[in-house]
Symmetry: C2
Subunit: 223 residues, 2 copies
DNA sequence: CTGTATCCTCAAGGATACTG
DNA sequence: CAGTATCCTTGAGGATACAG
């Protein structure tokens, strides 16, 4: 991005954060170190050259740093201070502009990645717990294998016992994720269906923390 | 800007605010309604077509609205809620990344516009008060004509008595404006010189509020 | 796996002229 | 004054191949 040539904090902020993809790259780093190829999961559509260029610039600007040899990228101490900035922007959108997802935004894989980052690991039993998601729009299923140490998205059947099977249209699960509707309501009206032992279905609600912006979305809706 | 296709508040925020010039257009509106041609003063380098395109988009997105017939643009109620967002971004820059102005950023006209927006009008006497600024780098002078109702930048001699004449290098006045140094220190070491009656020179300090980010810059420097 | 290098295309955006 | 229309350029960014 060409500089604005203005000695102004707002202009500098726009230069540092305003490039296409940059804010999303920062969002990805909010959950810990990310390796080069990992970025592409959360940033569908970004090209490798743009990603490399953005990472180089963020590194040059002292916002991120490279960990040793293929360990990926993290925030520097300055980069860490961006957390409340990203939060403020997201909260503003969550309060004033967010609507239901548009058809072009109904990416189930991305949704699963989002969800996987908001599992309350403290609530998990020891060992592996597996969830299976079935979307009304497609036959493909997606699994979540969850442990205390790590939660990951599986596009192939992990061939492990499934604790809870979740069936829903992508749109409805996005709405629950974003706090546009409560899981309870979605279950009551049947747009989301859980299968599994009653005990597991009950604990399921404790595992799922949903989007960190969901409370903001709910507060705005209550207004 | 092409959409990211993500149902995510951060992504939506980047779409709404991340276009080149958009954040600066919003900054301009922070001080009240702005007419089409007025934007160009605070946005040197923007092209008319880009400005028109950005304004149309911000209007479509419900952030700004057009006042009747050549009265310019203002925030909508939603647009008003962007104030703390802009503040957060600016504060982050002011705290963590701002340095002294770079040579390419030493635009005296823009500095005078910035300063004119931060005059404490309550402190002005009734009638017109005129300041004259002389920059070490150039022979051209710039005047500030100040009244309770309005403060404006004059590039031509208003031919009125000057209360205080300010002489400084552009860089030093920018540093004072941004809180990188105090006016007191700049006067003490002679980088900024005031001419005028002692009473006016004393009151001058009360008129000048400098950048709203200056306190943040000072707080960061004290750390 | 972690990038870099190259090429090529398209569209954002700058300059200018023109109109209500 | 407040834009719109047109033209043209440049550089951002996508695709692909390649290298450590």
């Amino acid at each position: 991005m060409r500089s604005y040539g203005q000695y102004c904090p707002v202009a500098k902020g726009a230069e540092l954060l305003g490039d296409r993809w940059t804010l999303l790259i920062i969002r990805e780093l909010l959950f810990g170190p990310v390796r080069f190829n990992e970025f592409e999961r959360g940033l569908p559509g970004i090209s490798r050259s743009v990603l490399a260029s953005r990472l180089r610039r963020l590194e040059r600007d002292g916002i991120i740093e490279r960990l040793g040899d293929g360990e990926g990228y993290t925030f520097t101490q300055v980069g860490e201070t961006l957390r409340p900035v990203v939060r403020t922007i997201g909260d503003w959108v969550a309060t004033w502009v967010i609507e239901d997802p548009r058809p072009a935004e109904l990416d189930p894989e991305l949704l699963m990645l989002f969800i996987s980052r908001h599992i309350d690991r403290e609530e998990l039993p020891t060992g592996k717990t597996v969830l299976c998601f079935e979307f009304a729009e497609e036959t493909r299923r997606i699994w979540l294998t969850m442990e205390r140490q790590d939660v990951s998205v599986c596009l192939e059947d992990p061939c492990l016992p499934v604790a809870v099977r979740v069936r829903a249209p992508v749109r409805e699960l996005y709405r629950v994720y974003m706090g546009r509707t409560s899981l309870r309501d979605a279950l009551d009206n049947g747009s989301v269906v859980l299968d599994g032992l009653p005990a597991d279905r009950r604990r399921f609600e404790g595992w799922m923390k949903w989007s960190s912006f969901a409370p903001t979305v709910q507060a705005a809706a209550a207004r």
